[in-house]
């Protein structure tokens, strides 16, 4: 598969990973604030919709893995939706993001429900058939070899396990696509510059969104990894989409 770092082509997956790491180390502490400003708060509604679709079981012992979820945003929602029963392992390749997440877990009194692991989505440090669910929100786009990450997702899920992936996607509403493009290419890097003092990481984010496969193409990739009953839901006219699959 072709690897792309935004619009700057790079030779190897390793190089891309290094560039992505740099972006997130720079923005970790203000990441969620930036997401609010960039999406006008919509990312919260999309994340709520993903967790509602997941519908985590309130049965004790239900286990979920949240990949690229450093700041704990998805994990905390899953624990709340399970009425405090779910156990979520948060995995991120970036230690700065995990540090932010762990602090938040402690403040919310959720340390017993959530644990944190620094690792690579392409090389998961978990045994086969372990988790009831695998989630990834706005993270798969930054993985150099997406097909490898999807195979690993399939491996660590139990039979009957659920895969859910929330990601920026292709706008499919006439007029909205132009507005969205103008917003994302002009406003987002400027907001990033103002809030974090560095617009460059946000230029990367916007460009990487454009490179990511659209809804049907990504659904094909999810199927190729072995998942069945693959479907997706568009959010806000396709600015974001959530893909779902089952390991059966």
């Amino acid at each position: 598969m072709e690897t792309a770092y935004g619009f700057r082509e790079v030779e190897s997956a390793a190089t891309k990973q290094g560039l992505v790491d740099g972006v997130f180390h720079k923005v970790a502490s203000r990441y969620d604030l930036m997401n609010d400003l960039m999406s006008g708060g919509l990312h919260r509604a999309w994340k709520n919709a993903m967790v509602a679709w997941l519908n985590p079981s309130p049965k004790p012992g239900w286990r979920s893995l949240d990949v690229a979820g450093g700041t704990g945003d998805i994990a905390f929602r899953i624990v709340d939706a399970s009425r405090g029963e779910a156990h979520v392992t948060v995995l991120d390749i970036n230690g700065s993001m995990l540090g932010v997440g762990r602090e938040r877990a402690e403040k919310r009194g959720l340390s017993a429900n959530v644990d944190f692991v620094e690792a690579n989505a392409e090389e998961l440090p978990f045994p086969d058939n372990h988790f009831d669910a695998y989630t990834v929100a706005f993270g798969i786009r930054n993985v150099p070899r997406i097909d490898v990450a999807l195979s690993e997702a399939y491996r660590v899920l139990k039979p009957g396990g659920r895969f859910l992936c929330l990601e920026f996607s292709e706008v499919d509403v006439a007029g909205l696509d132009k507005i969205y493009e103008a917003w994302s290419f002009n406003a987002i890097p400027r907001i990033g510059q103002m809030v974090t003092g560095d617009g460059e990481p946000y230029s990367y984010l916007v460009e990487s969104i454009r490179k990511f496969p659209n809804q049907p193409r990504f659904a094909e990739m999810v199927k190729r990894a072995g998942f069945e009953r693959v479907s997706w839901r568009d959010y806000s006219g396709g600015i974001a989409a959530c893909h779902s699959g089952w390991k059966l």
Partner: protein
């Protein structure tokens, strides 16, 4: 901040769950060095601020220790 208090923040159930990301083989906890040791990959993964770092690029290569 003492190293002991940091180590005690790691959930023992998490340590039991984790496997080597390369070989998917079991890991042994070395409490003295605060490392997760993969004999099969001959790597020792660090634990930093209570967070296990299961990245081969961050791991220490094991010498022949017999």
């Amino acid at each position: 901040m003492s190293r002991i208090s940091e180590q005690s923040r790691i959930d023992p159930r998490l340590l039991e769950l984790l496997v080597c990301p390369l070989t998917k083989g079991r890991l042994e906890w070395d409490g003295v060095r605060s490392e997760l040791v993969s004999r099969s990959a001959r790597l020792a993964y660090p634990v930093r601020d209570g967070i296990p770092v299961l990245l081969p690029s961050e791991a220490r290569t094991l010498e022949d220790e017999g």
